[in-house]
């Protein structure tokens, strides 16, 4: 599969569907994450109310984003921190490099950060002879495999245990670990032991932030492994790479989101480690970093404000939408060819990268609506996906054949009697063609559909016929059936 090319979604999807390892890895996601989230939500009767409050809070912040960012900056500085405002990924890369150079950094440890992925920080640092060491186990695995993340919270979710065993053997053999481990506990241990010294050796530690608190100038990370804490505590400098929309007004407001995040993401009551960091170590602190820098990335977010995709800026990156997406579950994250994947990625990527290059992504959805149902901040993902489809059509990105097909369909759709006639003929025709097996293996003009599965032969009448009949029954005073 070719990574990071959203232009070949269809080709990637075909390859993904044929990949048995991927299919078995993705099946675990559906079996685990979906019921875990539901159970966690059911245990907290106030979940829906908290979710409503979270949504309101985010909308309030977005409407006053300039104010809260300035407030954050003021308080961060008062605590001895530095804030770097970066309009583009390049600005952010340069800001990080400058800080690293100030201490002649050779290695930096990294906690998981989607913004670091968004600005392709690892490649950039390597180009400048600084070794980035991913410490989140999932990120570590994909760094070894030289792959981008395939999920916003479980970056290596597409890998089976066997694949990780092979990968560890391949990369750890030169470190004297020549036995192929197959027990997950032993594999976790091996990575733990290898990374341990790196935390102590690193000159700079880079983390992301789930939230920024305006009131205190703090950043918050939420993790389970403890790697983020080692990353930000042991080196001389702690850099937080984050983006504008992460700011919330107060500690109490952040708390509301913390109650939503872990439950939506992993189905935990609370993640193992939630850490609030404010400025560098204090004069009488015994440990902690001597400098604290916050890289605030815009990269198109300020233009999303006030636009029809503003709602996307509420996203708290829990991953629930992708966990529940039938398309994501089938094709995995790499198929999208972008840093952000699944329904939230299909809405965010066109905003960050332009709709022309990403036009397949908003189409990679059945608009079934599960994503919106589980989103803790009620982002209307299906509506936003439809909006991108329209924009892409208007921009003339849609190839002639598709446009022609749509006009063809529209011609009938605007003439109900003709549509009705056409549908009746089509249904009867398909029923005849599929009469032997009750399904169709191949269908003209719909190869893309029937390549992956069979089309069940239609049964009974068309929708319109059934509708008319039901209306007649209702008029006669019958029940619904």
């Amino acid at each position: 599969m070719e990574f990071m090319n959203p232009g070949i979604f269809k080709e990637n999807a075909r390859a993904a569907l044929a990949d048995q390892d991927l299919r078995s890895a993705m099946a675990m996601l559906n079996a685990g994450m979906v019921p875990n989230r539901q159970a966690a939500v059911d245990r907290l009767p106030e979940f829906a109310q908290l979710s409503r409050r979270g949504r309101e809070l985010k909308d309030h912040v977005l409407g006053n984003l300039d104010f809260y960012l300035e407030c954050f900056e003021r308080n961060c500085k008062a605590a001895g921190g530095h804030v770097h405002w970066c309009t583009t990924p390049e600005d952010a890369q340069e800001a990080v490099l400058k800080i690293c150079r100030s201490v002649n950094a050779k290695t930096v440890t990294k906690g998981k950060s989607m913004i670091a992925e968004e600005i392709h920080l690892n490649e950039f640092l390597e180009k400048h002879n600084i070794e980035p060491v991913e410490t989140d186990l999932g990120e570590y695995i994909i760094q070894l495999a030289k792959e981008p993340p395939s999920h916003i919270i479980g970056p290596a979710i597409h890998k089976t245990k066997d694949q990780v065993s092979d990968l560890f053997l391949e990369h750890h053999a030169k470190l004297g670990r020549t036995e192929r481990q197959t027990d997950p506990q032993k594999m976790v241990n091996e990575a733990r032991e290898i990374l341990r010294q790196k935390y102590f050796d690193a000159d700079v530690g880079i983390t992301g932030a789930n939230y920024l608190i305006a009131e205190t100038g703090s950043s918050i990370i939420v993790t389970n492994e403890g790697n983020g804490d080692l990353t930000q505590t042991l080196p001389k400098i702690h850099i937080v790479v984050t983006s504008l929309e992460k700011v919330v007004p107060t500690l109490e407001d952040a708390t509301t989101f913390l109650r939503l995040l872990a439950r939506s993401a992993t189905g935990q009551e609370f993640s193992a480690y939630t850490t609030i960091s404010t400025g560098p170590r204090r004069p009488d602190d015994v440990d902690g970093p001597g400098e604290y820098h916050v890289i605030l990335l815009d990269n198109g977010r300020s233009t999303m404000l006030g636009s029809e995709v503003q709602d996307m800026l509420r996203c708290i990156r829990c991953g629930a939408c992708m966990n529940h997406c039938p398309v994501y579950q089938s094709v995995g994250g790499h198929t999208y060819g972008t840093v952000y994947v699944g329904p939230m990625g299909a809405v965010l990527s066109p905003a960050l990268l332009g709709v022309s290059d990403t036009r397949h992504l908003p189409c990679a959805s059945t608009l079934c609506g599960r994503c919106e149902e589980v989103c803790p901040v009620a982002i209307p993902l299906p509506r936003l996906l439809r909006q991108w489809r329209e924009r892409s059509f208007e921009a003339g990105d849609v190839p002639a054949l598709e446009r022609w097909g749509l006009s063809f369909w529209a011609f009938f759709a605007r003439r109900p009697w003709l549509y009705d006639l056409g549908a009746r003929l089509a249904v009867r025709g398909l029923r005849y063609l599929g009469r032997r097996q009750g399904r169709l293996r191949k269908l003209w003009f719909a190869g893309g559909w029937t390549d992956g599965r069979d089309l069940p032969a239609p049964e009974g009448q068309t929708f319109q016929e059934r509708w008319r009949r039901q209306q007649r029954v209702l008029r006669r005073g019958g029940g619904m059936r």
Binding site: L57, C71, T87, P249, D287
Partner: protein, 242 residues
């Protein structure tokens, strides 16, 4: 996106971003009145919504804390007085075949306990180094809602003690248990009060169980990078209250 480099004078990232935000919102910077209102929202820092399980009688919260902490894979032992802590720590380490060289937080209360009574233990106070396997620390508070411990960094509590050693033991008093997170923030605002506001410690750690990962084929494993186990010695300092 607007290009910062097209103008005659290059605007700073800060000006560009704030300007772009205001343009998108279709308004200039907020008026003094509007700012005042938002400052007020911050000054009041109201709790949004505290779930019912975070409210109620203290004794019930202490129960819930233990239940939730155990659900998060902690072990909890209740002791009758602080004098029993060194013995409880020694017994725990012995019963689980763990190392007996222990790093204590440089905290007067903790250091003042009679560790010499435990001939088995070898203790020192300080931050954690790469070879430290067991740490014993106090905590600032504990939250019943999710079985979460809250610790602040400072000269008496190095953050490394919470993450570097393989085994973390926390000595906690029942009077430190609260129902909801917001109560911890209220206590923090009080003890660190400065002028009209308060100072945040460099690090606030909210810890719910030992370190874990599900990054290998979604199988949950404890002890990813932080402690493999988290043991709480809960001192009942409120016998007869409530």
């Amino acid at each position: 996106m607007k290009d910062a480099k097209t103008g005659p004078v290059k605007k700073s990232g800060r000006e560009t971003i704030l300007g772009a935000i205001r343009q998108s919102l279709g308004r200039p910077a907020l008026s003094a009145d509007a700012r005042h209102e938002l400052d007020d929202h911050i000054a009041k820092h109201r709790a949004n919504l505290v779930p019912a399980r975070g409210k109620g009688e203290h004794a019930a919260q202490v129960e819930r804390f233990q239940e939730m902490a155990r659900a998060a894979a902690c072990t909890v032992e209740l002791v009758a007085s602080e004098a029993a802590v060194p013995g409880a720590v020694a017994d725990y380490l012995r019963a689980n075949n763990l190392p007996t060289r222990v790093t204590l937080a440089p905290d007067d209360w903790l250091g003042g306990l009679d560790w010499n009574s435990q001939s088995l233990l070898e203790t020192r106070q300080g931050a954690a180094g790469i070879n430290d396997l067991v740490s014993v620390t106090p905590a600032f508070a504990a939250v019943a809602e999710t079985g979460t411990l809250v610790a602040f960094s400072g000269k008496t509590h190095p953050t490394t003690l919470n993450f570097v050693p393989d085994y973390h033991v926390v000595a906690l008093r029942t009077s430190q248990v609260v129902g909801a997170y917001e109560e911890v923030w209220a206590r923090l605002r009080k003890v660190n009060k400065q002028g009209r506001g308060f100072t945040m410690p460099r690090t606030v750690n909210m810890i719910t169980g030992p370190s874990r990962t599900a990054d290998i084929a979604l199988t949950l494993e404890l002890g990813a990078h932080g402690p493999r186990s988290l043991h709480i010695v809960l001192i009942d300092d409120q016998a007869g209250q409530d």
